[in-house]
Amino acid sequence: MNNRVRRFLRGARPAQKGTLSVATGRFSTIAVSLPIIAYIAFILLPLLWSVLTAFKPASDYLTNPPTFVPSDWTLIHFRTLGRLGAWKAISNSIIVSAGTTAISVTIGFLAGYGLSRFRAGGRVFAYALILQRLLPPVVFLVPSFVLFSLVGLVDTRLGLVIAYAAGSTTFATWIIASFLTLVPRDYEEAAVIDGANKRQLLWHVVLPLGRPAVIAAAGFAFVVGWTEFLFASILTRNNRTLPALFPSFVGAEASLLGELGALAMVAAVPAIILGVLFYRYAVLGLTMGGVKG
């Protein structure tokens, strides 16, 4: 696990170039490349259609055969996103995602450190984290709704942040704890000998050491807030987040195709950032969060 993490952080180089290759000759090189290209095409094709739709004038929507390249590139659909109530949903999504990230990374960092260094909470805490990770969130939906309506948290952004906090805190704790167990304790012990207090130890020693895992945890927490649909659609009515907006237009979409394509693009921004800029951290988070060390 240790080497694997280092390798990812260095840029996911292969152990030794080419030796794992299943290809043996020129023909098999093509046979290896073709399925990869086919998969990439499978990923890009539907995406491309949505992106193109976002820039199409309405006259291109229902043509036969379908119009792939817009006859007249237009940005109108990004300007009319307000028709879908998108701006409020986007600001709600940003607030909810940022809140979820702040809470779960802070708490998850502390708990992850406690879990990795002191086995704090023992087996009970570790099993609680596993259960929280595995149980389908939908089983918490009904009681959460009833409790939230009792305390006035339904249809509030704070309510959503609270609803997301448990899951994303669990994930943050798990990633950070898994990562820190791979980091030698030497630096911490040195800092303690130097007379660092607990706060200095956490802030100046442990946090920099665990930075990759903290970044990964932050990315995942943000994605939870940005993409979650089930709770957002039930727990909010006027304070919709972005995902909860989409179903409203199913069935009435023939005149809104451009706006929906544009909305999908806006909603995809964090995914693109995570995929392109932080994918190493994202990959680290996925392997730490899902694989036994």
Binding site: V22, A126, V138, V146, L230, L257, V283
Partner: protein, 323 residues
Amino acid sequence: MSETPVGVTDAPVHASDQPADVSEPPMVSRPSAAAVRDRVFGRWLITPAVVVIGTVSLIPFLFAIWVSFVQYNLRSSAHPFVGLDNFAHVLGDPIFRRSLVFTILLGAGLALLQLVIGTGLAILLHGRPPAWRRALMPIIVAPMFLSPVVVGQIWRLFMSRGFGPFNYLVSSVIGRPLQIDFLADRYWNLIPIIAADVWQWTPLPFVIAFAALSGIDTEILEAATVDGAGGWARVRHIILPLAAPALLTALFFRFADAIRIYGTIFMLSRGGPGRTTTPIAQYLVERGFTGSFDLGIAGAASWIFLIVVSLLFYRLVRRVVLV
């Protein structure tokens, strides 16, 4: 422990070397006291997490027990105790049983399909020059960070009979006109559901498989190659067996997540036609939050789903999961 800790050049005392001489050492002299202090510190560290997870998960969890044993709906403001009626109602509901079976079969099928595609892709991509994976990895992993409803929307736009290009594209390939309503026609509507979920979640087993492949000792593979093992033989007899534990973990986690499917299907088939593609999450939402808002029945259904899931997970958890 490091011999010369950073910044400690003139430190005369190494705490663990001379414990008796140090009156107030940073490293506590008596191990038992240090252990106690560590344990207290550890407890402080996890307290916020315990509070948050306890409040947001445990309290609703216990509350769910009460909800599922009472009548809780819009018809009355009182919540009379009804015993096991809610559970009996759910178990006797053919829609619940169909949703449960559909969710588990679909989840298992999706997890397996994604594992096969993801592992295959990882093996193939591992054999390509590093430039390939630097260019392609971001594209491959990005769909995971999209909302399932956005994925559903993208596939809806793509495969709709009215305004999507899919029928046209397939028609041009097979050479005869195709007019399938992939969002509504029974059985056909499984195609966009499966495609969308594979599109979004194949990256998870892919990433785990890729990490597992990176950990394989290449000397073994070289030895096998010298002994005349071809590409397929290396995959079949060396790579797959060595990666098997990681792959099983990926399969398990993917299954655990795949049975949560809701937004994707909601955007594509809406669970229809005739509830043939209704996942369990949608059943719970429909019982609890539409019609007469039978939260008691939805709560009981949640418990039954939870029990079924726990039984499925039980044997796997201890073998697969960390700790």
